[in-house]
């Protein structure tokens, strides 16, 4: 039952990504020569992925939640 509910959730999330991505992309068109601000490093969601690896590993070892922000590497970090 749990597995079935999980599959249904995953399907709807995938559908949201597919339909939303196509719809929103069709509406918004920022031309390549208009991307001056968007090209700056401060406009990326992960400006320093190596810092994120260290940070996420520390947080995921000390919190019950995980995921959504990228990989926290491997291993335990249980202390």
């Amino acid at each position: 039952m749990q597995k079935k509910r999980t599959n249904v959730r995953a399907f709807f999330v995938a559908l949201l990504f597919a339909v939303g991505g196509a719809g929103a992309g069709g509406c918004v068109r920022v031309k390549p020569y208009e991307r001056e601000l968007l090209a700056k490093p401060i406009m990326t969601f992960q400006p320093d992925p190596y810092e994120d690896v260290l940070d996420l590993h520390m947080l995921e070892a000390r919190e019950g939640a995980a995921g959504g922000y990228g990989s926290a590497g491997g291993g335990c970090g249980c202390n």
Partner: protein, 366 residues
């Protein structure tokens, strides 16, 4: 621990020396990064984490990467001393090899991560694909990773338990305006196998007059289905500043629900970039977590893991990056200081934890 730290510092120093010897004025996106993070808290735990990483353009559209990170742990936390151990030292080493290939608007990536410590070994493989659409106004990315873990126990060579972790990621990044980007991501994770701590024992209260102490090994369910959804917005403001906000909702089959709210403000002036950060986190406990277990109400799963209790935490900090006026400004130095506070609402052995997360590093584009 001092010997481990000396060896690690020597390795990082040697890698830095090689990178500087090879340094040329900036040409491509090749880079070398060395940084060290120091975690310290009032629960008597210190973790020093040095990291070195190199990325190199290989053939057309391909980038190769390699990194090493260690955790040098010294702890006398409540978790350690409540199990009749006065102090523990440990070293975790992790190596990563990665490759990515870009064809027009499509990027394929793969990585292998190996992590080892004296009682834990982990093999991880990851694959990903990202597709730019609509003149790069939309990016859809999907990824899968598998982690195969072998959990051991010090002093008991016969103890081996396995834990397999399957992870599916999907993200949708959308340019909304010339100065606004939004991102929605979803992670599904399935954990199968041993998820308790082999060192942790749970105290069961007995009502007898002799006050007999009864302790049983921690027992968690063998399966866990985990979901995380993150919505983020990045807005450019003024001349060289941006504000990033994101919210994460997390829920799993153990009944744990968590909310994370993060705000980051970046400001650039000349060769300096400053980042201010505020992160608030709250979680409800797992449905089998109890602050006290009693013999007359014993259940199949018992845990003394504070990460499964109800608590909130707050992290606030500042990071400064400076492009140094040498090597055509290809060398950047950074320092970071985050302070954090955890407040445990129903964890009997500890009510709060305060500490800092400090980091310093150098990165070189060559």
């Amino acid at each position: 621990m001092r010997l481990q730290l000396t060896r690690t510092i020597f390795s990082v120093g040697a890698a830095l020396a090689v990178a500087f010897a090879c340094a040329r004025p900036a040409r491509a996106d090749d880079s070398f990064v060395a940084k060290t993070q120091v975690y310290v808290d009032n629960d008597h735990t210190t973790v020093v984490s040095p990291l070195v990483a190199i990325t190199k353009d290989a053939w057309r559209g391909a980038t190769l990467g390699a990194s090493y990170v260690a955790d040098v742990v010294s702890s006398a936390s409540i978790d350690v001393i409540s199990n009749a151990t006065r102090h523990m030292d440990d070293l975790r080493s992790e190596v990563t090899g990665s490759v990515s290939q870009k064809w027009r608007a499509t990027t394929l990536s793969g990585a292998y991560i190996f992590s080892t410590e004296h009682d834990y070994t982990s093999h991880n493989v990851a694959f990903g694909v990202a597709q730019d659409l609509f003149q790069r106004n939309t990016t859809l990315a999907f990824g899968y990773s598998l982690s195969l873990n072998d959990v051991g126990r010090t002093g008991d060579r016969a103890f081996h338990r396995s834990l397999d972790v399957h992870n599916l990621d999907a993200s949708w990044t959308q340019v909304l305006r010339r100065s606004t980007v939004a991102q929605l991501s979803y992670t599904f994770q399935y954990d199968s196998g041993y998820q308790a701590s082999p060192y942790r024992f749970v105290r069961i209260e007995t009502m007898d007059l002799q006050q007999t102490e009864l302790k049983v090994p921690e027992t968690d369910p063998l399966e866990r289905f985990r979901h995380a959804i993150v919505a983020g917005l990045n807005q450019h403001v003024g001349q060289g500043s941006s504000v990033q906000a994101d919210y994460r909702i997390y829920f799993d089959s153990w009944g744990l629900i968590a909310h994370t709210l993060q705000l980051r403000y970046f400001v650039t002036f000349g060769d300096f970039t400053v980042r201010l950060r505020e992160r608030f986190y709250y979680q409800s406990g797992a449905n089998f977590f109890r602050s006290h277990y009693t013999l007359d109400n014993l259940q199949p799963f018992v845990t003394a893991d504070r990460e499964l209790s109800t608590f909130w935490s707050n992290v606030a900090g500042i990071k400064l990056s400076w492009r140094l006026p040498v090597l055509d400004r290809a060398l950047t130095a950074e320092v970071k200081a985050d302070v954090f506070y955890f407040y445990y609402i129903d964890f009997a052995l500890l009510s709060s934890r305060v500490g800092a997360d400090l980091e310093g590093g150098l990165s070189l584009a060559f």
